[in-house]
């Protein structure tokens, strides 16, 4: 008797290892960037620095709206059944990071829009009375503090969620790490601070932002170390997954693009800038932003490559 195994001819019957292309890392990167920008905006709002730091605090909310929309557009392209996306919003599943993420993303829009209105320039507020009235109400100390807190809370939630989304997928040992949430949050904070540094016009503002970015970059290095140590000491499969970045096929991309060009080099340049040893340059924040994108691409690609034996 001749037996034929015909099921293998059907697509997606065999386990597909690489199902995520460019869309998911781009979404995670833009989501983290907006998260960082929101935390920064919230901090500036609560410190009452709207008037002192106008170029950053006025631009961040509107740019954040564009970036989160681009990120959600990338995520939408990744969906298999795009027309069913509304069903995410007919339920809330507290144990599902994806459900949390869906609702957090929905909260990002009103908070960013209200922050944009609260920091609207006086000329624009005077031109249209209802806008001016709303801006004045939002600038009242209590409302401003509340708006700042909302920015920080939603920003931290969004930043952590982009990492937890991966770490909750237990089938991939590289992502089975509690450090991934904080790592993606801090990477988002550093991207947000670098971008704010890039658009800041005032030298004092630039100095504050580059010092805070240096702090985020050092923290990110520590979290990367914890991430790799944790995986290496967590059993055979996670150790093998960490090996993908420690001698395996993703080593060069991770250490050169993420750690070298994305963290160590800009940290060195920004430390020299903070010490007054080199002049101001926008190359360093651009490298930080590139490093944030590379981190998402490498972790998403290497994670899909890793498997339990």
């Amino acid at each position: 008797m001749l037996e034929l195994l015909s099921t293998r001819h059907n697509p997606m019957i065999d386990p597909a290892l690489h199902v995520w292309g460019w869309e998911v890392p781009v979404y995670l990167f833009l989501g983290g960037w907006v998260a960082g920008a929101m935390v920064l905006s919230g901090w500036l709002l609560r410190r009452g620095l709207v008037e002192e730091r106008p170029s950053v605090v006025r631009a961040l909310p509107w740019i954040g709206l564009v970036l989160i929309s681009l990120g959600m557009g990338a995520l939408f392209l990744d969906l298999e059944h795009r027309l069913y996306v509304w069903r995410m919003y007919t339920t809330f599943q507290p144990t599902s990071p994806m459900s949390w993420g869906g609702w957090i993303l929905l909260g990002v829009y009103p908070v960013l829009a209200l922050t944009g209105v609260a920091t609207v320039p006086a000329a624009l507020a005077d031109a249209w009375a209802p806008l001016g009235a709303l801006a004045r109400r939002l600038r009242a100390p209590a409302a401003r503090d509340l708006l700042g807190l909302a920015n920080i809370a939603i920003g931290v939630g969004l930043g952590v969620y982009t990492g937890i989304l991966l770490s909750s997928l237990g089938a991939r040992p590289l992502w089975a790490s509690g450090a991934l949430g904080p790592l993606f949050l801090v990477s988002g904070l550093s991207t947000g601070a670098a971008f704010a540094h890039l658009i800041a016009r005032d030298p004092g503002e630039q100095s504050t932002l580059l010092r805070s970015d240096n702090l985020f970059l050092v923290t990110e290095l520590a979290l990367i170390a914890l991430f790799l140590i944790g995986l290496s000491s967590a059993g055979a499969a996670p150790a093998q997954a960490a090996g993908l970045l420690l001698g395996g096929p993703y080593t060069a991309a991770f250490w050169v693009l993420v750690v070298g060009l994305g963290i160590a080099l800009p940290l060195a340049i920004q430390s020299l800038m903070a010490a007054g040893r080199v002049g101001h340059t926008r190359v360093a924040p651009l490298l930080v932003i590139g490093g944030g994108l590379a981190l998402r691409f490498v972790i998403v690609a290497a994670g899909q490559f890793s498997a339990w034996p």
Binding site: A252, V256, L261, L272, G279, T281
Partner: protein
């Protein structure tokens, strides 16, 4: 890009003899750590092969030269020379920042316009790329790495680079006057 504190002319460049010794040590370190010498033109070839595969995969698959970079299953940009050239740019940036020299400019003599200078640089770059492919290596791959290994061909290449340089310098000096 801007540098707020340009230093006095003459102090911004490293002593060339010290830089030469440093480059030799970098080459030695590359052999010890990576098991490979230094190079530059190969990185550009890998980028071209990758771009060609993106734009016209059928053409790239039919071309033996591009296949040299594309076959084997690994990404063409995942090559030692590509990462080395990234490091080169990073090191140059850091060095330029420390010397206060980072700014957008066209390196040229004071009496030459940007257009002629860029056109001459482009033509020179094209000739250099053709030469590097004919010689199977550029000044870094052949002269530095091959020369360090005492390859006779690499030394012949290096001598001819100097011969060519001195022979054409007279005709090219208008760019620097």
């Amino acid at each position: 890009m801007s540098a707020s504190k340009p230093r006095a002319p003459g102090s911004a460049y490293m002593n060339p003899y010290l830089a030469g010794v440093g480059l030799g040590l970098v080459l030695l370190a590359a052999f010890v750590v990576m098991g490979r010498g230094l190079g530059a033109s190969g990185a550009f070839s890998a980028v071209i092969a990758w771009l060609m595969d993106l734009v016209a995969p059928a053409h790239a698959a039919a071309n033996e030269y591009y296949q040299g970079y594309l076959e084997g299953g690994t990404h063409p940009l995942k090559a030692w020379l590509v990462f080395e050239v990234l490091g080169l740019a990073a090191g140059a940036l850091l060095s330029g920042l420390l010397a206060g020299r980072v700014r957008l400019s066209v390196e040229k003599g004071p009496r030459v316009g940007n257009g002629p200078r860029l056109a001459a640089a482009f033509a020179g770059g094209m000739l250099m790329a053709i030469g590097a492919h004919l010689a199977r290596g550029c000044t870094s791959g052949q002269a530095l790495s091959g020369g360090a290994l005492l390859n006779a061909g690499s030394w012949a290449f290096m001598i001819m680079v100097f011969v060519g340089g001195y022979a054409t310098a007279y005709f090219m000096r208008w760019q620097w006057r």
